[in-house]
Symmetry: C2
Subunit: 204 residues, 2 copies
């Protein structure tokens, strides 16, 4: 079994979180999911609908894999003073750290991505990059892996990346099985980013 | 504004629900989302993670659009005696009824799909079809629309269908905007079903 710690915070983006969780969750015999928030209990997403954090951050920092979703638009909708020390410690302890969409802005603010390649949502690319210019931000990538850090493009790219991580951790056949089970048309190539140009042309 | 009632019940499939909800939720100026369950309060998904029903079924049956997610595998993980009368009434009142994955089995059990075209998850196709042979089950379709009833294939097909419904209700440009915003590679053609043959060959 591998533990998957899933960070949740007020105004998180629904599919950033539940997309990858669906993929990992198909393999209940391999991945043990724990939703962890600033406080335990209900936490509302940017769309109003809530999920329920099983434990508060101060209760645990050690997970094999850590998943960090993004939040709505051009803001980091969370008290970063409280969050970043936890995120830094949990990310350092984890074997793999995954961010989706603007989740990479949060991880970048810990300094752990400095000098590393990373990506994010393309519509908000410049805004995210400005939060931590020390990161080697990639303007065209569905997702990027640098050492143990996996950062994906916007929202639905998190599902493609999650399947990529599943392939790496327990094998391509298992990842294909999950995609098939979810009837998900998996975009397997992390370098193919159909949203890079359009969005970058539009500007942030 | 249009009201979107989202049915949630114990052991619902996470992405069946949150995939379409992400798409509708991007258009907060158009769609008002309400999560409605057998009881108000936290309801656990098949993967353990919970969401929070804002109201109990007995509080409301009238929505413009009704969304019915599926549940895990070859069971209907819910007390259908309690659910079906509500579902039938809410479906009759709604302008559009959307089911994802095995959600179509639930809707079929109300009798409202009798004689209509509908589809479902392809791995569980025969099982779903056996629940209500009076439905004209379609073995190859990403999603099917018959009158006001929209039924999608497994799990992630719900996102494609949701965008299709958004296109129909408020225009193709808005649907494209949502797909772009979510960086979702939208499969626009409801007749193209890459999972039909593989799964049907494997059998249920």
């Amino acid at each position: 079994m591998r533990s998957l710690g899933i960070l949740v915070y007020p105004n998180f983006e629904l599919l950033d979180l539940f997309g990858p969780v669906e993929m990992f969750g198909w393999l209940a015999e391999v991945f043990e999911l724990t939703l962890i928030g600033p406080t335990a209990g209900p936490i509302r997403s940017n769309m109003g609908l809530a999920t329920v954090a099983e434990m508060a951050m101060n209760e645990r920092t050690a997970f094999d894999i850590l998943l960090v979703p993004g939040g709505w638009g051009r803001s980091i909708p969370v008290d970063t003073d409280a969050l970043l020390p936890w995120l830094k410690e949990a990310a350092q302890k984890a074997d793999r750290v995954l961010t989706v969409c603007t989740g990479s802005a949060l991880l970048a603010l810990t300094g752990l991505l400095d000098g590393r390649k990373a990506t994010t949502n393309k519509a908000l690319f410049d805004w995210v990059a400005s939060k931590r210019p020390e990161v080697n931000w990639q303007a065209e990538a569905r997702w990027v892996c640098d050492d143990k850090y996996y950062t994906s493009s916007g929202v639905s790219a998190g599902m493609d990346m999650a399947l990529g991580v599943i392939a790496e951790v327990i094998g391509q056949d298992k990842a294909e099985e999950v995609a098939q089970g979810c009837e998900y048309i998996w975009h397997r190539d992390p370098t193919c980013d159909p949203f890079a140009r359009t969005h970058c042309a539009l500007g942030p």
